[in-house]
Subunit: 360 residues, 2 copies
């Protein structure tokens, strides 16, 4: 984890932009403090529960990077009253009007960023849709603060190869900078130009016009990121410790006590070149068994088999033996657990337990 | 929920067997008390965390229905020392020897059931594998208590149609009774003959030789169960309340603030006749919008679209409007939340908040 954090920091320093880490991956104050530039932030969150939890731990600069529902503005205002510079995100005039109205009601300009849709994968205003962009900007101007523009190249998760990743990163940059330029050309402010995803943060070669990068899963990495090529399997800093609880030798199955409740049901590698099932099986030191995969999972059972086409043999793992399983998706797997048991490198000894939280 | 519980109770009473509900679905003391025959149980659990949590709430009769890892026996012994009749499950001689050794060490016969594999879907001894069955029974006899046999027709989730479901139920019954008969013929005790899954519990027509039925998801039901045909969509007693946070009209998308973190990534209906995506969208009273489905999901975003081939039109849902989403799998979706907000029928008012727990 420390190496992963240092790697992205060094990269962004070289590109001349700051990091606003997305804390939805870790949902842990202990991890957050190791990934943020300072204990006060900056940071990105995906729920108001995260905003409140990290605010209570002293984080003072956050963007709630999911489109705001008007009914949530009361809680945003309450957090801001505690001294937290919490900004919201939106992509419709209706939301902008709600934020402006709430701002007027409390006599305080609530900061909002306009979400830009750089790759059509989810939400946001198309960079070239100047009409909608300016309508939102002008609606915000009626009491709220237009803080800037924000985009997320979620489509980069489907990119394959260095060239495609660099193209995603450049499309992400061009889209959000184009939107910022349009706002400024219309006389509207746009101090913040925010973009990011772990694949593009690790692929961008030029971030001209960008003020900050957001990324989340880079802190732990996972099999999806390894499949995309932005990390190696040995960089993955999160695993689930499991115990062998059965064998079905006629089927070549080994059963472990980590099913989808422990691993999550994320099957993000199913569409990649190497389908990693529900996870990669390692020894206690984190060294993968190259021929094994968690091929299937029930709620509390994982079914470990040889990989399809493998010429290997099942290692001699007896009832009670322990293994580590690397996850497809660190955000999803982490969310199934109440804390992190911290180990250093290939050590087995637990150095610390870091609580994590969930909910909304 | 109350109707679902009453329905299965009435069914099993008519068949002359008791219900040992599986509390892994609810992980809630409030729900457990409404589904168990008495506040003391009986009950089934899938983790020792559940066993400890329900023990603290007064449950005194539990089966931990996942193959035991020897390292967990200390905790089993500790719970039993508190007066909880907690039985373990196993399907290997190695586990039986570990349970017998632990029993001798504490001077107390730890009760164990032998898991029977009635349909080849996961773990357990094949009913006809008398050699392995008796070897486990004899190993247990060296200090432990052979409490009986237990099976789970997990394969019933893939059955389609009433006749196939009845066949699964009969195969489940025949398999576990055959194993009990073999143990008794060898002079070994087998007081408990336990089987169950929600599909077979609702399909069995004869449970001769069976002493108890286990089922979990029947308490809430879900879209997978509706797809199998053991409930109607209107029986589903669990939904996720979400808010509209965006539109992408050119794509026919409506965005809600419930993504896979709120719904889970269970896609259990993907292999059924009707693929329900990440869930069925309803109004606040729980009435489904027949043409809508949560077609895709990110961590905190759900993408709602018209169903493929639908001739309907997108209902007029504005920013801030709220919907309920019915889940594919109640166990998985429930696990993403910290409590249940209880409503009565089609009412919107929250009558109570019931905490739920997770972890191991």
């Amino acid at each position: 984890m420390e190496r992963n954090v240092a790697r992205l920091r060094a990269r962004l320093t070289a590109l001349g932009v700051g990091l606003r880490p997305h804390l939805k991956t870790c949902k842990s104050v202990d991890v957050a403090r190791r990934v943020m530039a300072s204990p006060q932030g900056p940071a990105t969150v995906s729920t108001l529960k995260e905003a409140a939890h990290f605010a209570a731990a002293g984080v003072r600069d956050m963007i709630y990077a999911v489109g705001i529902a008007p009914a949530k503005l009361d809680q945003v205002v309450a957090l801001r009253a505690e001294g937290v510079d919490l900004a919201v995100l939106l992509d419709t005039v209706a939301q902008a009007e709600a934020v402006a109205a709430a701002s007027r009601a409390v006599g305080q300009r609530i900061p909002a960023l306009i979400e830009i849709d750089c790759d059509g994968h989810r939400s946001g205003v198309k960079p070239g849709d100047t009409e909608r962009l300016l309508a939102i900007g002008h609606a915000l101007a009626q009491g709220a603060e237009l803080r800037g523009v924000l985009t997320h190249a979620g489509g980069s998760y489907a990119a394959r190869g260095e060239q495609a990743l660099r193209q995603c990163a450049e499309d992400e940059r061009r889209g959000v900078v184009e939107a910022a330029t349009a706002l400024r050309a219309a006389g509207l402010p746009c101090p913040v130009v925010s973009l990011g995803s772990t694949p593009t943060a690790h692929s961008a070669t030029d971030l001209t016009g960008v003020t900050e990068v957001r990324a989340g899963v880079f802190v732990f990495f996972d099999l999806v990121m390894a499949g995309i090529g932005v990390c190696q399997v040995e960089d993955i800093a999160l695993s689930v410790l499991a115990t062998v609880i059965g064998h079905q030798p006629d089927k070549g199955w080994l059963l472990i006590d980590a099913g989808w409740m422990a691993m999550s049901q994320d099957r993000g590698t199913a569409k990649q070149a190497v389908n990693q099932g529900y996870g990669v099986v390692c020894d206690l030191a984190g060294r993968p068994y190259p021929d094994l995969v968690v091929a299937d999972a029930n709620q509390e059972h994982g079914i470990v088999t040889l990989r399809p086409g493998s010429a290997g043999v099942m290692p001699d793992l007896a009832i009670g033996d322990r293994v580590r399983v690397l996850p497809n998706h660190a955000c999803a797997t982490g969310a199934q657990h109440r804390s992190y048991h911290v180990v250093r490198g290939t050590q087995v000894a637990i150095e610390a337990e870091w609580p994590r939280f969930g909910g909304w």
